[in-house]
């Protein structure tokens, strides 16, 4: 018994301390270094934060180059898909144009009526938040790891991007900045499990928290009132209760799935985002 225990200890010690013929470091040293790295990373010391930012920037720049072949494969496949879609889309668009033409006249009437009513009630036009400059950024990489659904953009602290800023694509909210380096930033997408934003459901006064699940077509609403039944084809807007996001921005919509269950999908398609707008809370040009 004692003999086998000794053998075990010797084998473990050998594995930890013995360096191979071409090994420069022992396993024990590297494991110790990893633990130190994790501990230092957990502390928000300025020196460690700036070192990490520089390391992130360097790795992201290399990553952009390394991921080029993969992106090229995506590009070729996208071209193939687009080619077959164009004809079908053209037909649909022609029909939509006809419908929109007729709706436009109705809208013009409503707009005039709205302005007249505003003047009557002495309400001025909506102004943008002071200092809410829109920063344009390019998506350099999108990551789908088991831990994060995130994007990397090519603007960072040097371009006045700070942690917590909101990110829009095609006018729709897609996420928030969770990590700002000097030359790049990481955006946590709405579809991520860790994303939580306060929302309100169309035609109701029900507030909830929109939570991601990793999939664009399957978001969740938390903290809904008891016995509340979600209806399909309802738009979900930001409620602005967090004090960061502007109220009334459409972020998702409910729909009926194939199994007749009401599900929630994001209005934006973060995976297709190439150029994004980073703001302090609202999208001015919507």
């Amino acid at each position: 018994m004692a003999q086998s225990r000794d053998d075990f200890i010797i084998a473990v010690r050998y594995a930890l301390l013995k360096k191979g013929a071409k090994q420069k470091f022992s396993l024990f040293f590297l494991i110790f270094l990893s633990v130190i790295t994790i501990t230092l990373d957990g502390l928000s010391v300025p020196f460690v934060t700036s070192t990490r930012a520089v390391l992130n920037d360097a790795v992201y720049q290399v990553n952009v180059i390394v991921s080029k072949p993969g992106k090229f494969i995506n590009y070729l496949e996208q071209i193939k898909k687009n080619h077959f879609k164009v004809v079908e889309k053209n037909k649909t668009l022609e029909e939509e144009v006809e419908t929109l033409k007729s709706e436009r006249y109705d809208n013009l009437f409503l707009k005039t009526e709205n302005e007249n009513l505003k003047q009557t009630l002495s309400i001025t036009g909506i102004t943008s938040i002071e200092g809410d400059a829109v920063i344009l950024a390019r998506v350099v990489m999108d990551q789908e790891s088991p831990y994060l659904r995130s994007l990397l953009i090519n603007k960072g602290k040097n371009h006045n991007i700070v942690k917590g800023m909101t990110v829009f694509s095609n006018g729709y909210l897609i996420g928030r900045v969770i990590e700002a380096n000097f030359l790049s930033a990481r955006v946590l997408l709405l579809t991520d499990l860790n994303s939580k934003i306060p929302v309100i459901i169309q035609d109701t006064d029900v507030n909830g928290i929109l939570v991601g699940s990793g999939k664009k077509t399957n978001l969740f609403l938390e903290y809904l009132p008891e016995n509340f039944l979600l209806e399909p084809n309802k738009i979900i807007f930001t409620s602005g209760r967090d004090g960061v996001l502007t109220a009334g921005m459409p972020v998702a919509e409910t729909y009926l799935s194939k199994k007749n269950k009401v599900k929630i999908k994001s209005l934006a398609n973060p995976q297709q985002a190439l150029i994004v707008h980073v703001t302090n809370g609202q999208m001015n040009n919507r």
Partner: protein, 171 residues
């Protein structure tokens, strides 16, 4: 001319290290136009670490494993040091296994990969649970680990024949 040959030989002999670094940049994650590939996603880095530590420990240094792990952490966005620690635990388990094994069999090594993966992933989850506020996609991780285990024999034969081919060429 001699320099070119030396560079070529250096490249060939370190090909697995280069490949290991490339993998740490998660380039296959960026191929999204083939969604079915992601269903069978597996951790090739774990397979490489396990196989090379077990069979050819001199071809993949622990320093490289550590550095590639750090890059992996930066790219994925998890606390720095998580992947290196996970890979090094796998290396430790494998080195121990190599020391106590008298006669190696592919089947026994494949089965021993289960506890190796378990300990490695356990460290990974403990670190992420305690040193970050991230949540997991448990099903994806389970699926990933399962396919990592399942595809091991394929890569075992592939890497084995590759390394034996190089040894034969150098002999």
């Amino acid at each position: 001319m001699r320099i070119l040959i030396n560079i070529k030989n250096l490249f060939i002999s370190n090909l697995i290290v280069i490949f290991f670094y490339i993998l740490s940049f998660n380039i296959f994650e960026s191929i999204k136009e083939f969604p079915n590939i992601l269903v069978f996603s597996f951790n090739l880095q774990m397979i490489i670490v396990y196989f090379y530590t077990l069979k050819f420990p001199d071809n993949l240094g622990t320093g490289h494993i550590f550095l590639a792990g750090i890059i992996n952490d930066v790219v994925i966005g998890i606390p720095l040091g998580t992947s290196p620690l996970s890979f090094l635990v796998l290396t430790f388990f494998t080195t121990y296994l190599r020391n106590v094994t008298l006669r190696s069999l592919m089947l026994s090594e494949w089965i021993a990969f289960v506890p190796a993966l378990f300990f490695s992933n356990l460290v990974y989850y403990i670190v992420i649970n305690n040193f970050s506020h991230l949540s997991f996609y448990y099903v994806e991780l389970l699926r990933n680990t399962f396919f990592t285990f399942l595809f091991f024999p394929i890569f075992y034969y592939f890497f084995n024949s590759y390394e034996k081919g190089i040894l034969k060429k150098n002999a």
